[in-house]
C-alpha cells in the first residue's frame, strides 16, 4: 500500500443523522410537531441501506443503530488512524428525496444547524458541505446564503441524480451563489429517486443501482460542460464525490470526439472537454474501481493527463478498502502528496482560509 502522508485532507466522509430525534432541537415548531403527528421515524435514503455491506465497514459498525453517528466515533475511526488534518463531512440524508419544497427546506436547515452544533463545534478537524433543498432553487440559494457566513462550510452538496440535468440553466443560481461565496459544488452519488436511477428504467438490485451511479456522473459532467456552466462560471470548482474515476478517460475521449463534430451546436464550449475538466472538475479518490493490477492503475493515471484531478477520500464509513489502505498501491510519494494534500487545498478555497 502507498503510505498516506501525515495531515491528509479527507474530502468525503459521512456522519450520519442517528435518528430523526437528533434533528428535533433544530427543527422549527411546525415541523417538530409534524414529525410527531405524522409519525416520521426515519428520513434516510435507500441509497445506502443500513445492512448493506457497502454502507458500513464491518469493523466500523456499531452494535446497533446507524454508523458514524457521533463525533467521538468518527474521530476515532476516520480521523486518528489516517492522521487526517481536515475531513469534509457530507451528510447523506433524505432531504433531497422529499416532494415538498417547504419540508425539504426545513430539514435542510435542521441538518445544517445540527452539523454546526453537533460536529463542527465539537471537532476542529471537521469541515462540512451545505445540504440544500434542491426541490426549489431559490430556497437552495437562500440556504447557501444563510450558511455561507460560517467558513467551515466549504462546499454545497448535490446528489448526482435529481429531477433534471445539473447543467440546465434553472440550476445556475446555485452555481452563482457558490462562486460568489467561494464554495465548491460537490456532487455526490445518490438519487432523489424522482426518476429511475439508471437511464433505462428501474433496476431490480442494489448492485445495479450502485454501479449505475457512474453513468449518472458521466451524464451530469456532460450536461454541465455542454450547457456551458464552466463558460458562465469559469471559477467554479465541481467535485464529483464517490463517483469513481476509472471511467473518466474513456468518457472524455467519447465526449471530445462528438464535440469536435458538433461544436457548432454549442459554440460556448470553446475548449476541448478534457481541458475544462482539468481546470474545473475534481474527483474524490474512493471508491477506486480496482483495476486488477498496479500497472493498469498507473496507466489509467497517464490517461487522465493530470495529477491534479484526484482528491483524497476514505468515503468513511462506506466499505471501499480494508485497514488503513486508503491509497491504492503503486503511487509515487509525490502523487500521494498531491492527492492527499495539495489537490484538496487547491480545490477548496475555504480550506485555506480556515486551516492556513
Amino acid at each position: 500500500m502507498t503510505a498516506l502522508p501525515e495531515g491528509a485532507i479527507d474530502c468525503d466522509i459521512h456522519p450520519s443523522v442517528p435518528s430523526v430525534q437528533a434533528l428535533m432541537p433544530y427543527l422549527e415548531d411546525h415541523w417538530r410537531e409534524q414529525v410527531v403527528m405524522r409519525g416520521i421515524d426515519e428520513l434516510n435514503s435507500i441509497s445506502y441501506p443500513l445492512n448493506s455491506p457497502l454502507t458500513c465497514r464491518a469493523d466500523w459498525k456499531p452494535a446497533s443503530g446507524r454508523p458514524a453517528a457521533d463525533v467521538a466515533t468518527v474521530a476515532r475511526q476516520a480521523l486518528d488512524p489516517f492522521r487526517t488534518s481536515v475531513a469534509i463531512a457530507n451528510c447523506l440524508y433524505g432531504v433531497q428525496l422529499l416532494f415538498s419544497e417547504d419540508m425539504g427546506a426545513a430539514f435542510a436547515r435542521a441538518v445544517n444547524d445540527w452539523m454546526v452544533k453537533e460536529w463542527l463545534d465539537k471537532e476542529p478537524r471537521l469541515r462540512a458541505s451545505i445540504v440544500v433543498p434542491t426541490q426549489n432553487v431559490e430556497m437552495a440559494v437562500d440556504e447557501i446564503n444563510r450558511c455561507a457566513a460560517d467558513k467551515r462550510f466549504v462546499q454545497v452538496l448535490l446528489l448526482v441524480s435529481g429531477d433534471t440535468p445539473l447543467g440546465r440553466r434553472h440550476h445556475w443560481p446555485i452555481y452563482a451563489a457558490c462562486e460568489k461565496h467561494g464554495l465548491a459544488v460537490g456532487i455526490h452519488a445518490g438519487s432523489s429517486y424522482h426518476n429511475p436511477p439508471t437511464p433505462v428504467g428501474w433496476p431490480s438490485y442494489y448492485t445495479e443501482d450502485y454501479v449505475g451511479q457512474a453513468q449518472a456522473f458521466q451524464t451530469q459532467l456532460t450536461s454541465m460542460i455542454c450547457e456551458g456552466v464552466f463558460t458562465k462560471f469559469p471559477h467554479l470548482k465541481v467535485v464529483l464525490l464517490e463517483s469513481g474515476f476509472t471511467w473518466l478517460p474513456a468518457h472524455l475521449w467519447r465526449l471530445t470526439k462528438y464535440w469536435r463534430g458538433l461544436r457548432m451546436e454549442i459554440p460556448w464550449v470553446d475548449r476541448a472537454p478534457g481541458d475544462i475538466v482539468r481546470s474545473n472538475v475534481r474527483f474524490s479518490l474512493q471508491p477506486v474501481d480496482g483495476p486488477p493490477d498496479q500497472e493498469s492503475l498507473l496507466k489509467l493515471f497517464d490517461h487522465m493527463q493530470s495529477d491534479e484531478l484526484l482528491l483524497f477520500s476514505t468515503d468513511y464509513p462506506h466499505h471501499q478498502f480494508d485497514g488503513n489502505a486508503a491509497l491504492p498501491n503503486g503511487l509515487s510519494a509525490e502523487l500521494a502528496r498531491k492527492i492527499a494534500i495539495d489537490n484538496p487545498r487547491a480545490t477548496y478555497a475555504r480550506l485555506m482560509e480556515t486551516v492556513g
Partner: protein, 137 residues
C-alpha cells in the same frame, strides 16, 4: 514551386468549388466572393473529402445560449465527421493547436498572361480571352 492552371474562372462561380489535381495531389478550390482558395482535399482527421463538405459560417459565443454567426460561407465542415475548417487558412476550430489543413495559394490570371508562361496548364486548353484559376505548388 510552379504555377498550375487548373480551371477557367467561370467554372467556379461565387460560392462554388471544384476538385482538381495538381502534381498528383487532390486540391479543393473554393470561390469566396470572387476570391479563390485552395485546400488539400483530405481532412487531417480521417481523410474525408473536404470538397464535398457543407459550407457554413462561423458560430461563436461569449456566453451559453448565444450564437454569434459571422463569416458566412467561409467555413467548410468535413462531410465525414463535421470538423470545421477555415477555407481561407485551413485552421481547425476543434483542435487549432494540432490540426490544420494544408492550403495552397490560388490566383486568377488573364489568359493573355497565362499563354505567355511560365505556367503549367495540365489538363485544360488556354486561350487569351479567358480568366484562369492558377494554383501555386
Amino acid at each position: 514551386m510552379s504555377r498550375h492552371v487548373v480551371a477557367t474562372a467561370q467554372e467556379i462561380p461565387e460560392g462554388g468549388r471544384k476538385l482538381v489535381t495538381v502534381r498528383g495531389r487532390p486540391i479543393a478550390i473554393f470561390n469566396l466572393k470572387g476570391e479563390y482558395f485552395g485546400m488539400l482535399n483530405r481532412c487531417p482527421h480521417q481523410g474525408g473529402p473536404m470538397c464535398e463538405g457543407l459550407i457554413t459560417g462561423l458560430r461563436e459565443a461569449k456566453q451559453p445560449g448565444e450564437y454569434l454567426y459571422s463569416r458566412k460561407g467561409e467555413i467548410v465542415r468535413c462531410p465525414w465527421h463535421g470538423w470545421e475548417f477555415d477555407i481561407k487558412t485551413g485552421q481547425s476550430y476543434v483542435d487549432p493547436d494540432k490540426t490544420r489543413i494544408r492550403t495552397y495559394p490560388v490566383e486568377v490570371e488573364a489568359g493573355a498572361a497565362v499563354v505567355n508562361g511560365p505556367y503549367v496548364a495540365e489538363t485544360i486548353p488556354v486561350s487569351v480571352e479567358e480568366q484562369y484559376v492558377v494554383v501555386e505548388m
